[in-house]
């Protein structure tokens, strides 16, 4: 074995240094090293079988730790990850697969999500005859062992349920090949395979809605940091990659309409069909932000054809990666040529012309008026929202953002009274760019447009500014057109909102 070498992947060689139990090192495959080991090369399986496979468990674990560490130093590529996984599978100490009702510890991993490069959110069950296992270990595909028992919190889904955020020391790639180990009080251990699931926020938002004794700990220790990291990662990779212009819009537009396009990009056609009859739109800038870049080609073609048909100039900004609504709004706003912005959902359609004038008139009426929102309607002529208000949430001390006058007929007398409201949402929001900037922009953590708008409204109120409801501006908001169901994200948004504003209140009081 001494002096032998094998390819770990295309760029890295495993070399056994001379000696009785030669130290194994992973080295970049430089030309000189290739030449040096050319006569001593063997395949990886033989290399491992003739060497470390015969070592004791501790030595093999030590080697695996070393190789994982080297993988991080060398820069983990998919092929290096694959090589490390082969070494891991050949050398790691295997435990019996967990089988329910077999006695002893049992383990099942329900969800494993990547949060960022080295953070993961796990939800599962581990139990040992009604006693929690003494140790819970995650093993990455490359072989890194992470003790997660201390990291996770109880989860109420089932007996022995756990969930939580944990970190690896080294990067890991690939969705497959994870293994979790649970060791019981008796010392016996079992293992269960796991692979990464898509859409971490769906799991996180679902867990945030659970009501149990440890809910606060789960939200505070795990869910909030996880959401923050997901958003941070998204923001770090999301930027405007392309701006396509169709026609020449006004050089000094009265208003810039920033319209994020998510999921139903075909709605652009219907929105433009409605805008085309509105003379005020001709004085504005239409700025669509495609938050789902994979639809870029199809949308570009459609936008060109719609411009040819409707002769309504527009710009289309494409993002590098999928983005949430607040980030798409934020990025779109950076392109706006007008100081006055309207953030508009792609599922929002004006009832008739005049809405822009009504909202602008409101903001111009008093410099203290910071933001304006219209009456939003459902297709059956009932009210979706006439501004937002706060209500007591299901938990003590928890506030809920409530759509004012929701479900009432559009002509109910109370809906005709314009004026200050507690908050306004992002479905249709007029605000000046400088006002938005002075308030700190959108926080981008809630996952729901209403809470983002409420959060902004709260900060504007803290600055002594007012947000207004403008009943003369009436638009339809068609939530049934494939928008993300809000119910899932609502408990998290509600909790975070209450948490943040409780902190703010405490700061003021303190």
């Amino acid at each position: 074995m001494s002096g032998r070498a094998a390819w770990l992947c295309d760029e890295v060689l495993l070399v056994c240094e001379p000696g009785d139990r030669g130290r194994i090192v992973a080295l970049p495959a430089t030309d000189s090293l290739r030449a040096e080991v050319a006569e001593r090369l063997t395949d990886l399986t033989t290399f491992l079988r003739e060497g470390p496979a015969g070592w004791d468990a501790a030595a093999r674990t030590q080697l695996l730790d070393h190789l994982v560490s080297r993988g991080g130093e060398l820069g983990l590529s998919p092929s290096l990850s694959d090589g490390l996984r082969r070494v891991r599978d050949a050398l790691r100490e295997r435990r019996p697969l967990s089988l329910p009702r077999a006695g002893g510890p049992c383990l099942a991993i329900e969800r494993l999500h990547r949060i960022d490069e080295r953070s993961f959110y796990v939800r599962g069950r581990a139990w040992d005859e009604a006693v929690a296992p003494v140790r819970l270990t995650a093993i990455t595909a490359e072989g890194e062992r992470v003790e997660v028992g201390e990291s996770v919190s109880p989860h109420p889904a089932a007996e022995g349920g756990f969930a939580g955020l944990f970190e690896t020391s080294f990067p890991t790639c690939g969705a497959e090949g994870w293994v979790f180990e649970a060791a019981g009080a008796s010392g016996r251990a079992v293992e269960a395979p796991a692979s990464l699931s898509p859409d971490p926020l769906r799991t996180i938002f679902a867990d945030a809605g659970l009501d149990f004794a440890g809910a606060e700990e789960l939200r505070e220790r795990h869910l909030r940091p996880a959401v923050a990291r997901v958003n941070e990662l998204r923001r770090s990779i999301t930027e405007i990659v392309e701006i396509a212009g169709f026609g020449q819009g006004p050089t000094s537009p009265a208003v810039s309409l920033v319209i994020p396009l998510q999921r139903r990009v075909d709605l652009i056609e219907h929105q433009i069909a409605q805008f085309a009859a509105d003379p005020e739109i001709g004085e504005c800038e239409l700025l669509y932000v495609l938050a789902e870049p994979e639809q870029s080609d199809a949308l570009g073609e459609l936008a060109a054809e719609l411009f040819a048909l409707y002769r309504l100039p527009l710009r289309l900004a494409t993002l590098t990666a999928p983005a949430g609504l607040p980030d798409a709004c934020r990025l779109g706003a950076t392109l706006a040529r007008s100081e006055r912005l309207v953030f508009l959902g792609s599922d929002v359609f004006p009832d008739r012309p005049g809405w822009l004038q009504a909202m602008s008139g409101c903001l111009d009426a008093d410099p203290n008026f910071a933001a304006a929102a219209p009456k939003l309607l459902y297709a059956d002529e009932s009210i979706d929202q006439a501004g937002l208000e706060y209500a007591q949430g299901p938990a003590e001390g928890e506030g809920r953002v409530h759509r004012r006058l929701r479900g009432m007929h559009r002509h109910v007398a109370a809906a005709d009274d314009g004026g200050p409201v507690a908050a306004v949402g992002l479905a249709c929001l007029m605000v000046d760019a400088s006002t938005l900037e002075s308030a700190g922009g959108f926080r981008g953590e809630f996952g729901l447009a209403e809470y983002e708008g409420s959060d902004l409204s709260g900060r504007l109120a803290a600055m002594g500014r007012e947000v207004r409801y403008v009943p003369e501006a009436e638009l339809y908001r068609l939530e049934g057109l494939g928008a993300e169901p809000e119910a899932l994200a609502e408990p998290y948004a509600r909790w975070l909102y209450s948490r943040l504003w409780a902190e703010a209140a405490a700061e003021v009081a303190g």
Binding site: A277, Y476, L481
Partner: protein
């Protein structure tokens, strides 16, 4: 100098016969002979009406063989969105093909007879390309209102529908969200806002579109005109008046199944029935099978297939009564005009355009829509009541002639041209 009028239609009657296209083409031919008007007829071709494609590569609009003023439009692919009435991807049909055609022709009036399979967007392109040219749109059925082939018949139980709302429409199409229907209405109305004048051939139709949102003053109530047919020799038939005929399209909304069931209910007393039906081959298999089974089980029925429009009078003169048993509202069925032109009383359903055009006890007999028993009773009464046929025949009005109809339309065209010119000045 003659005014140029362009009619745009979803189909050419020489490709497939159908009521709206037959009427539109008759109007075109009449205007061709009239002084002061230079008409052009543009009809869409291609699937589903015809498998034929454009004869010249890169020229999706080509003249109809043997004519200088009739064209066929061949969309490059069959990309039509039934829900919204638009081409999903190929907007170039409007902004390229149609735009170039309009610029080449420069009509003084654009009259959309139908936009099915073409798309409502064609109206917008016409407005953009020729902003000074008035746009007229004839409403032939409820297609802009109702996604169920414009019939306003519920898919749930085939009952008549009197009101289209997003919620009710979604009940008929559970896979489509109510908001989509709301959007559909807004989209079509956004294009209709560009139309100067609508033409409704029946009050039934006009009222439904007024309720839907088109201002009443923008809808001209004007019955279809029909080309004058040569007088029929021997249109009088001596008693007994016991032969019946059904004419026109055969589809689930025309009620042929109601008529055949009425014939079965009459049993051995059933009179003779002649069926002159078209386009059964375009219907769904289940319906074709149902009609086939009913025909096999009904005595006294002769199935004669489609007929050329110009021979309608001759065919109708061969029966005593014309039956129009439609289970949808109908607008202004041409078959009623044809029956009246042949001086044949009509037995029809008691709703919509049928009840409006045929007066019960004056020039025809009404029966409860969709009710074979009621129709059987009407047939029995028609056959057994002495003198009824002669009396009803006396009550038949003169058919609105194409000459008078064209006069009304061209007067409207002139007014619109003047109005547009005044706006431009």
């Amino acid at each position: 100098m003659a005014r140029r009028v362009l009619q745009i239609c979803h189909n050419h009657p020489r490709v497939r016969p159908g009521g709206a296209e037959v009427y539109a083409h008759e109007l075109h031919r009449h205007l061709r002979r009239s002084e002061g008007w230079d008409p052009t007829f543009l009809a869409r071709s291609g699937p589903p009406h015809s498998p034929a494609g454009a004869p010249h590569l890169g020229a999706p609009i080509s003249p109809m063989e043997g004519t200088a003023d009739e064209y066929l439009l061949y969309p490059e692919d069959h990309d039509y969105d039934w829900m919204f009435g638009t081409m999903r991807r190929r907007k170039n049909l409007y902004t390229g093909d149609l735009c170039r055609f309009l610029l080449a022709l420069r009509p003084d009036v654009i009259h959309f007879q139908h936009t099915l399979f073409i798309g409502y967007d064609a109206i917008r392109e016409a407005r953009h390309t020729l902003p000074d040219t008035p746009i007229v749109y004839t409403l032939h059925e409820f297609l802009p209102i109702c996604h169920n082939k414009g019939q306003m018949v519920r898919t749930t139980d085939r009952s008549l529908c009197a009101e289209a709302t997003p919620r009710r429409c979604a009940e008929c199409f559970p896979d489509i969200a109510p908001d989509e229907f709301f959007l559909r209405q807004r989209f079509i109305r956004a294009q209709f806002d560009l139309v100067d004048l609508f033409v409704a051939p029946s009050a039934t139709l006009r009222e439904r579109f007024v309720e839907w949102g088109i201002p009443r003053e923008r809808i001209l109530l004007e019955e279809y005109g029909r080309a004058e047919a040569p007088p029929l020799g021997g249109d009088f038939r001596p008693a007994p008046h016991d032969s019946f005929g059904i004419f026109g399209q055969v589809n689930p909304y025309k009620g042929i199944d109601v008529l055949l069931r009425a014939m079965q209910a009459l049993g051995a007393e059933a009179p003779r029935l002649r069926i002159h039906g078209a386009n059964l081959d375009l219907q769904e298999r289940s319906f074709r099978d149902e009609i086939s089974d009913l025909l096999a089980a009904t005595q006294g029925v002769t199935s004669l297939g489609p007929y050329p429009p110009e021979r309608a009078g001759e065919m109708m003169a061969a029966v005593d009564w014309v039956v129009v048993p439609s289970v949808w509202w109908e607008n202004s069925p041409l078959v009623i005009q044809e029956a009246f032109a042949a001086r044949r009383p009509v037995i029809c359903s008691d709703v919509g355009g049928m009840a409006e055009k045929v007066l019960d006890g004056v020039n025809g007999i009404h029966f409860r829509v969709g009710d074979p028993g009621s129709l059987a009773a009407a047939i029995e009464r028609a056959v057994s009541t002495p003198g009824l046929w002669d009396r009803l025949r006396e009550g038949i009005p003169r058919v609105h002639s194409m000459a008078k109809h064209a006069e009304v339309l061209t007067t409207a065209y002139e007014s619109l041209i003047e109005a547009r010119r005044a706006v431009v000045v």
